[in-house]
């Protein structure tokens, strides 16, 4: 708590704030090499986003480019390296929203696209709908010229091992997906998500989120990441991207609630995020997770109620900060 960035609001001007999920590895597994790999990946994502924005790209471009880096990295539960469902396949969700127009696009349960955030953007830009799911969303991806990738493309040994472990816990009756006694493994199984919020020089505020979903998920479960108002929102006052126990983020409409508190209570971004993440969600102990958020003045917030959250920001002069715990 001595970290001044946790006490004082940080203003980046135009720039970008990202997260790579709250499902951080325990300290004993986060060796210096692994820790460095995560920080490098976060830095690469922020650098790509900064290059895009500084080169004249919009906040939408910045969010998509920053998230694509994490979708391509096997470190994060998204794109390549996504969690595996109970039948051993990936099932990815993503959403994106622009604050000015409230334009939004989202996809759920997609199995074959390399960059789900790009597909979500196509839904926003090229489709009358906001949310597409499953094979229908994949058919739309083909119409947009996006390639289909085989299951092997997304497979990683780490997520396969996670799935086997999750199935073993389930068989032993240890998985308590709806209780307050979530273990570290359960948090990691469920909370791997990436996201970005950007503000560009034109004042456009955009939020995006992408996820591989929870390990061992069944019954076509959809979490908060593709749900506008729950996992992602960009409105008149702020942009928000969430990571955490999706069911609680849906029930509390976390992303929209932060926007609503700023708009109706007149509180700052910092106050609104802390009220929701450290207040509302903490009061429901299983509401574990975090958010990154940005307001129209370029203030950023990275707030979580878990042990850590892969996260970082880049400001308008290219200064980068990344952190895990």
């Amino acid at each position: 708590m001595a970290d001044p960035e946790k006490v004082h609001a940080v203003r980046v001007g135009w720039g970008l704030v990202i997260h790579g999920g709250v499902g951080v590895l325990p300290p004993e597994q986060l060796t210096p090499a692994v820790d460095g790999a995560y920080r490098d990946a976060l830095t690469e994502s922020l650098s790509r986003g900064f290059e895009t924005l500084s080169g004249g790209g919009s906040a939408t471009d910045g969010v998509v480019e920053a998230i694509k880096v994490m979708e391509d990295s096997p470190l994060f539960n998204v794109g390549r390296g996504s969690n595996l469902t109970s039948d051993g396949l990936v099932s990815m969700d993503a959403s994106i929203m622009e604050g000015g127009t409230l334009s939004a696009g989202a996809v759920a349960g997609v199995r074959d696209v390399r960059h789900p955030i790009r597909l979500a953007r196509h839904v926003m830009d090229d489709c009358p709908h906001v949310l597409l799911a499953g094979e229908g969303a994949e058919a739309f991806a083909r119409e947009m010229g996006m390639a289909s990738h085989e299951p092997d493309f997304f497979f990683t040994q780490r997520r396969w091992d996670d799935l086997q472990a999750a199935k073993a816990r389930e068989a032993q009756g240890e998985a308590k997906p709806n209780t307050v006694d979530a273990g570290d493994e359960e948090i990691r199984d469920r909370a791997g998500t990436v996201g970005a919020v950007a503000l560009d020089r034109e004042g456009l505020l955009v939020a995006g989120t992408s996820t591989g979903g929870s390990a061992n998920k069944k019954w076509g479960r959809i979490g908060d990441s593709p749900i506008v108002a729950a996992g992602t929102y960009a409105g008149s006052h702020c942009g928000v991207s969430c990571t955490g126990w999706g069911e609680y983020f849906i029930r509390h409409a976390v992303a929209h609630d932060i926007q609503a508190r700023m708009a109706y209570l007149g509180v700052t971004l910092k106050e609104a995020t802390e009220q929701v993440v450290l207040g509302t969600l903490e009061d429901h102990r299983a509401g574990l997770g975090g958010v990154v958020a940005m307001d129209r003045q370029g203030y950023v917030e990275m707030c979580f109620n878990t042990r850590g959250m892969y996260r970082g920001w880049v400001d308008e002069v290219g200064r980068v900060r990344v952190a895990i715990f």
Copy 2:
């Protein structure tokens, strides 16, 4: 506007308020016989809800029973008589939420269950997740002992004709699904949804919504009805069920926004619903639709910015009111 029920808030005590969608037939098609059939169906739904509540059932029971009546009626775009997707099949969505605990359940893209609202309740009560989609949701229905029905069960000639008309408009380039120039047909194609909000004697406030979705829909489109915060919300201050152009209800998080305005601005249910339906949505002219809502004191609101909305309420002494325009 001389209707006193539009000027003064109506208080029903414990009771139920329902809607059968804003996609009302044009006056020339709404013959006295058809008008009577809709009013009878609304009255039956309210009566079933009232019997459930007065017999000691919970608000959750009341919402489910009231909606089941409309799901069984071919008059409404839900359950039997649902709209047909571009491939000629039904694809139904539903959601339910309890205000006290924020428990919620929802299903999207379900093709074979008679009562999607019952399946949404099973998700809420018997599943760690909030939202299930497609074949996964149908598999969960089987685990809950719910029967699977063949496509023929849901088929109605009227919706088949609507689909052919929608396809013809699409072929002629007349369908402008994302513009402000929506014709009556487009509204009807998209806006058929039913919903209910109930308050029981214990003070439990519950909202539920069920829909057959939009006619000729493609790409696995999911509208607002199964989305907690968009089509349905029940929170500390009110319960809300929406009907209308789903994409706008998602972008504005309509159901949650009404709850948020009551909680943070301190306005009444009537003020909050009018701010959102007659303010926010009217400002975005394609945001056509309406809501029914109820607060913890038993006040009901039925607010819409379209020509009509099938709707009604029943109060704690069994008095029923239904209306269309």
